[in-house]
Symmetry: C2
Subunit: 326 residues, 2 copies
Amino acid sequence: MKLAVIEGDGIGREVIPVAVKVLDAFGLEFEKVPLELGYTQWERTGTAISSDDLEIIKGCDAVLFGAVTTVPDPNCKSVLLTIRKELDLYANVRPVKPLPCIIGVTGRNDFDFIIVRENTEGLYSGIEEIGSDISWTKRVVTRRSSERIAEYACKLAKKRKNKLTIVHKSNVLKSDKLFLDVCRQTASANSVEYEDMLVDSMAYNLMMHPERYDIVVTTNLFGDILSDMCAALVGSLGLVPSANIGDKYAFFEPVHGSAPDIAGKGIANPLAAILSVKMLLEWMGEPRSQVIDEAITHVLQKKIITPDLGGTASTIEVGNAVAEYV
Amino acid sequence: MKLAVIEGDGIGREVIPVAVKVLDAFGLEFEKVPLELGYTQWERTGTAISSDDLEIIKGCDAVLFGAVTTVPDPNCKSVLLTIRKELDLYANVRPVKPLPCIIGVTGRNDFDFIIVRENTEGLYSGIEEIGSDISWTKRVVTRRSSERIAEYACKLAKKRKNKLTIVHKSNVLKSDKLFLDVCRQTASANSVEYEDMLVDSMAYNLMMHPERYDIVVTTNLFGDILSDMCAALVGSLGLVPSANIGDKYAFFEPVHGSAPDIAGKGIANPLAAILSVKMLLEWMGEPRSQVIDEAITHVLQKKIITPDLGGTASTIEVGNAVAEYV
Ligand SMILES: CC(C)[C@H](C(=O)O)[C@@H](O)C(=O)O
Ligand SMILES: CC(C)[C@H](C(=O)O)[C@@H](O)C(=O)O
């Protein structure tokens, strides 16, 4: 098992080393391949991710990723989007689940759902034209991509409550009818119970009734917006992990970004990165992945928490406590 | 002053008569022009809005609108989108403000901001192609539309805290750079303090720190999603009004839809529609518009509230209580 480790920029450089320490505590056989990508790299070399980098990544089985800062040059390729595309990581999986002792903005902890975001097309098509008076981007929905994300979501649903919510905006975007139809057919074919919801209503309902959902499947940018919003349900962007899954590769990253405002202070919350390691272990089929949940429960109960959660612990202190428990 | 009154479908038929009663209580000179549009109309005539209807609406100064149910025929024009387009209602204005005695999902009431949504383009361009294997919609951003929505937002900001938050996704949608640049320039030119925020971060921050915002300006679909989400901050979709403003016409509607699930039961919350009447009065420059706030405070304190707020009053009882107070 070869794992590319990309810290990236900002707090990525703080949370990833800590997450790696937790991973190491499992004593598994990993060949780790560290890679320097992102803003700092772009400042040095003029490119945030090179084709050599990509080849190295493609020689690995999986990637553990921190965060990168967007470079100001619009012609420079985005690291994240390039990797998602080149590795064909079509499913962006974002679990939304309360953590013990942590209270989110709504004060409730009776929810447990997963946002399954189509990760290759929609508004991320890259088909666009930029002009000084008019600019446009093409939002693309294909049957093939809709099918495979729907299949993925159904597979997850079958392991859980067998309930799928399809989120779209087909009352305005006629093109979303394709996504909706394919998801409905796939759910039927897999005997998964389903409903559909307009994205605006869904944003409202996720805040009002988060306990109603199990698997939520949606297009790329809707998934982006809804999953950040749902971090507020959990309590902090510092607590939500994600997996980008393809047929050949998988890529794990916290949902949060590089957070330049707190970078370098050693106070970034490493739990999202640590939970991303848990998703990596699950993907590998490692039965002990649950130990991470226990370890996190332990540090939260002992109030070994970073300032975003009202504590005073440093990134490293939280990481050490989790790693030790493991 | 000629006012088109469109109840539409579902609970639109229940909340609009009540809102009109409140409007009538002001004793202003109005010529009211009732119009039958929407699903029921489509069932009868095969069209949800005809060109004759449009001519009648264009002969009015303003519109009070309930909600319409989307018709299943994809070739049938959307009532709402047709009117917004034909009347060139370019600014969709959605105030997000707590009401007395009502607690939203986050339990806080220290926020007061307005979402100003560009209402003519973006993903609502109508430029799309629907295929069985691939479908697309063009998301269009023009300098002209960005300029006028930015001007509108700045004008509002100057009457308030002079703070503008520009919401975009220019790290992925290069076309959003145009929107962002124009908004920044317009804010500078008008000496309005501004910041910008990615739409995913904004969804998170609106839930975590709603007190930080004053005027939020964004593109069409982002505004749609964020404003529904923010109804959860206020406490119910039954409480948030909106105005669609153009240079010649204005159009007032609750943010909620036709809600077929509760239609016909007489329990729909009329406050969003009544607050839409308040926005109409403000738009007319009627100084007594504030009386509606007082009246709503009165009914909320007396707990004359519909089931969505935990009460037992009917739509008509709430409406009568507000109208009487006025
Ligand atoms: C950084 C950005 C390109 C990315 C996205 O929009 O997908 C991020 O917001 C995410 O959710 O992973
Ligand atoms: C009904 C629909 C076309 C509309 C929109 O998407 O604009 C609605 O959601 C709104 O926000 O007014």
